[in-house]
Amino acid sequence: MAYSKKVVDKFEDTLNNPQAFKVGRFDPAELNVGTGMVGAPACGDVMKLQIKCEPKGNSHVIKDVKFKTYGCGSAIASSSELVEMLIGKTLEEAKAIKNIEIVEALELPPIKIHCSVLAEDSIRQAIEDYESKQ
């Protein structure tokens, strides 16, 4: 498995220090929490992403994020990378995040690009869930 050093480091950091890397969960019933879960165990990866937001002007800002990921090292690293990008962003800015940014940040090989796509899908779903509650 030819993983980039960035993937390996991100995976290991997340594994060894889960709290610092936002592994965990919020109560999905809370009104200021949006939850997205994508993937399937049979496919080998499932990502769950939760955002905690608050209104700011005309928009909403992501104040905190929690995630859990079942998947290969790249999937875990991709989730962790995405989580770092999200904090402090407005929902519009978060929606504009493209999987290619994760691919580039982690130097994902072509066969692992689906991990970044999954991460992108997870934030879209989390935002959808949040917006449906407002």
């Binding site: 879960m37 080998g44 990866d45 290969c72 066969i111």
Partner: protein, 407 residues
Amino acid sequence: MKEKNNTIYLDYASTTPVDPRVAKRMMEFLTPDGEFGNPASRSHRYGWKADEAVEEARSHVANLVNCDPREIVWTSGATEADNLAVKGIAKFYKTKGNHIITSKIEHKAVLDPCRQLERDGFEVTYLEPNEGGIITPEAVQEAIKDSTILVSIMHINNELGTLNNIDGIGRITREKGIFFHVDAAQSTGKVPIDLKQLPVDLMSFSAHKTYGPKGVGALFVRRKPRVRIEAQIHGGGHERGMRSGTLPTHQLVGMGEAFRIAKIDMKQDIEKIKKFHDMFLDQVNDIEHVYLNGDVANKVPNILNVSFNFVEGESLIMGLKDIAVSSGSACTSASLEPSYVLRALGRKDELAHSSIRFSFGRFTNEDEVLETLSILKNVVERLRELSPLWEMHLDGIDLDTVEWKTH
């Protein structure tokens, strides 16, 4: 020399290091002061000496599996031996019939030649294993047709370590006059093999799974009752016309020496590895939701295939970075398919994705096994903390009832 390496090697089913005693012997057949001659040279001492060494090596191989040395054909490895057996029989006996029986859990070295034969007009039946990973004689019996010419079933499965009843299968094929090939790449030095007793017509061997060098193997081709095969490599008629090409003396000496040592050391190797196996199994069962793949009552102790539910195999391997093991999940391939062997057992895909093969060998020691167990427990726990599936499980959610948003 290579850099200092602290990685614990538990991937002996993939390959073994060459035993230093074997490497020492091989060195004697390479350099100008050694016996470097071409064994096919009949006109001088160099050739005679190399030929002598090759024939001695052939006897060592034959001796380990109790057959006549004249029944051993050298090949470049078990893959070539499997190809030669399957294609060689199919092509030689194609006028007798066109049906071949094999199984879904064979090595690719048997499956891919079978696929090729299908393209050439042969019909192939791929038997399902039972849930313990065993191909039963009854399953073979039921698949036999009038047009069946060959049955190819492995002895020990490389992913699971499960052991097929080749004696039982051979009795059936012998009675029906069908040829029986056995891939025994994982067997030598692990279980006794007696080809005088076993009703097997062809058997493939590998050197590098038994502390010999890579790039060399052999095919047993029975003389009585006689088995004939069509050669797949032509060019000089070596190996009684069945496999041409200059014999690599040092490689064959290496395989011979490795098999000679295997005969002597087998008992103590097995005893030691059995102890590690039992210790490992006992402790790994302390982890919740762990499944042993393959029938534990019917397997070799050197291979342990375990699924850790709610944890994905590739991330587990990455977490176990100081331990060299194999994953049943082939997530590195573009297809993202979990192991075809585990799927054939009827394991759920997620369990197939979460499997790891640990394989012990002659140079494994108790400290390594204990350290592996300790690292393993820690990494599984950490990955579960990261796993949304584990969280759902703890919340009492049945994962089978969830509607997943696949991508």
